[in-house]
């Protein structure tokens, strides 16, 4: 087992990783930017290194600084968390070149799965079902247009180097295709430095169901069930749950097997997530692989009792998985709500600031993963996720009510600070969500219904 691990991340996930390290007797090293000097992980970790100013590209994304900090502190391994460098094949390679264990798959696996076109091609050959779309890089707008016409509209154009809901555009009609293709390419070049895109049929009302896998260096690959992440706003997840409600029996076993097959085909190592789209007719198709621990990983932890970050550390240290597929049991229901410092009344504009009050909920089967605390100043330089609130209960309906209870207890306030807590409660109370019949269009629908209600003429007082 490692003596010392450097955590190449910040915020709640850095603290999560530091806790897993502490439980395994591993010394943790936090890295921080100037703006994060008062962050929770900086005082929690065994050591901390100031690596740069606020800007992520000069701190959390600056590979030489991170690797230097690891070498100077004598860390044997680096945990990249999610986002930042977690899916940068270059970073994994530099770690390897410097005898640092990168906690995740090999650089070439990250590179292949990070190229969404190459990943689609690999998974198609591994036998996973895919939506009709391109399997090779598109060479021209005309070629793409012809393909789109043959797939049938609507189609979605996605950046090959993208992922996580970024750099995508839906095209409803053939006449709009070429302009959208060019715009998506330009956006991809700006966002990811790579203009290549691919085209896929678009399912307007579908469910986003993902499978958690674990793979060790002994050839053991297992899945730990699914997470339904359909509650999204602009492709960013807000609420996740497990099990996915209302699925036909046997479907998860099929999807789990597909994910395991895909992980083997890719030579995967560590914790990974296979994302699928579930069509209304019950068919599932492969979307992408996320080669990292995910934000919503605690949902799986709550229903399986497996500590996924701990498993990552064990796998990276060359140990076998703690459990076999037969040991995996999914029990009860878990829901996660992402509490962001955003103002839903102003189109979810970021609303960070000093947390004069930060009182998380508690009680039975409530878990809060957060770096927040009373007196913490939420920086404006990074993403708006402040806390992940999770509940478990024996049934989905009980979990839904427990989550509402917990959200209602969660007190976060400060000058100029807004959170999405009230909006999350509205989604939880939505009739479709409560019935488990919602899909990826749910948030837009709830929001536009609410907007119409807010703007409706008020009755005379």
């Amino acid at each position: 087992m490692f003596d010392k691990v450097l955590i190449a991340n910040r915020g709640e996930i850095a603290l999560r990783i530091a806790r897993a390290c502490r439980e395994l007797g591993i010394r943790s090293v936090a890295v921080y930017s100037t703006e994060d000097r008062d962050s929770a992980v900086v005082s929690y970790a065994d050591e901390a290194v100031h690596i740069g100013p606020a800007a992520a590209r000069r701190s959390y994304l600056r590979i030489p600084s991170i690797v230097e900090a690891a070498l100077r502190t004598g860390a044997q391994a680096v945990h990249p968390g999610y986002g930042f460098l977690s899916e940068e094949a270059d970073f994994a390679q530099v770690c390897q070149d410097n005898d640092l264990t990168f906690i995740g798959p090999a650089p070439e696996v990250i590179a292949q799965l990070g190229d969404k076109t190459a990943a689609r091609d690999l998974m198609a050959r591994a036998g996973l079902p895919l939506l009709p779309g391109s399997l090779e890089p598109l060479r021209s707008a005309e070629e793409a247009h012809t393909l789109a016409d043959s797939i049938g509209y609507p189609v979605i154009i996605k950046a090959a180097a993208g992922g996580g809901g970024r750099g995508m555009r839906v095209v409803e009609r053939s006449a709009d295709f070429v302009a959208a293709y060019r715009e998506t390419r330009a956006g991809a070049k700006t966002l990811f430095g790579d203009p290549r895109v691919f085209v896929e049929r678009y399912l307007a009302s579908a469910r986003h169901v993902e499978i958690q896998v674990l793979a060790d260096s002994f050839g053991n690959v297992i899945h730990l069930g699914e997470r339904d992440c359909s509650v999204q706003r602009r492709h960013q997840k807000l609420i996740e749950e497990s099990p996915a409600p209302g699925l036909p029996p046997g479907l998860i076993e099929k999807m789990g097997t597909a994910a395991v097959d895909g992980a083997r085909a890719a030579g995967y190592l560590g914790a990974g997530t296979f994302e699928f789209l579930l069509a209304p007719n019950g068919e599932f198709t492969f979307m992408e692989v996320n080669c990292r621990i995910q934000v919503e990983h605690p949902v799986t932890e709550m229903v399986t009792g497996v500590d996924l970050v701990r498993e990552q550390l064990l796998i990276a240290a060359g140990e076998p998985l703690s459990l076999t597929q037969a040991d995996v049991t999914v029990r009860g229901a878990a829901i996660e709500c992402r509490v962001n410092v955003e103002d839903p009344e102003r189109a979810f504009a970021p609303a960070p600031g000093l947390l004069e009050e930060f009182v998380p909920p508690g009680g039975p089967f409530v878990r809060v993963d957060t770096h927040g605390f009373t007196g913490y100043r939420v920086p404006a330089s990074y993403d708006s996720l402040l806390a992940k609130l999770l509940v478990w209960a024996p049934t989905r309906e009980q979990a839904r009510q427990r989550m509402d209870r917990a959200l209602e207890e969660f007190r976060i306030s400060g000058p100029g600070v807004h959170t999405t807590i009230d909006f999350l409660r509205e989604v939880l109370q939505d009739r479709q969500f409560a019935a488990g019949e919602h899909d990826t269009g749910a948030v837009e629908r709830i929001f536009s219904t609410k907007a119409r209600a807010d703007h409706a003429p008020k009755p005379e007082e």
């Binding site: 100031h50 030489p64 600084s65």
Partner: protein
Amino acid sequence: MTSLSSYVSEPGASRLDHGNGHENLSGSPQPAGAVAGASAPELLEQLREDALRFLARTRYPPRALRIQVGDVSLELEWQPAGTDSSGAPPAEGWPGSGTGSEPERPDSPPPGHSLRAPSVGVFYRSPAPGEAAFVDVGDAVRAGQQVGIVEVMKLMIPVNADRDGTVAEVLKGDGDSVEYDEPLITLALAPG
């Protein structure tokens, strides 16, 4: 030579001329208590030790102190009188300043202008191993002048002075690990 103890005093209270803040400690060729037949360097060494004891009891750090034995002298100087009799507090860390006997905490940079690490990495004081340091204490530097290197993964990042000044202190040694923004060198800034 008259015992140095008779000269221990606040600046301004000395019997000697201090109009320009200059105290001249000189005396007979043989200081009291000196071993008969001692050589000039030995006498100077004795005087140096006396001077150190003397200085430890003064309130303000001197700009100059000149000790002469025959042809051998040792000289230090005070700031001009206007400065140290103006009531300005004694410099932190000066032994006689009465601010306490604890040494300066390593995490509080000394007064003066700090030149800080542009990156996490390893600090080098010279362009290459074995070569002379870019700067040493007492050197004058101009804005833009290189005073060190921080190495990050084989990438050598120059550390440059951003102001004119004099190197007052070098806080990190050659080969030390440094964090981003950590003070490396303290400059006493040029007046004005």
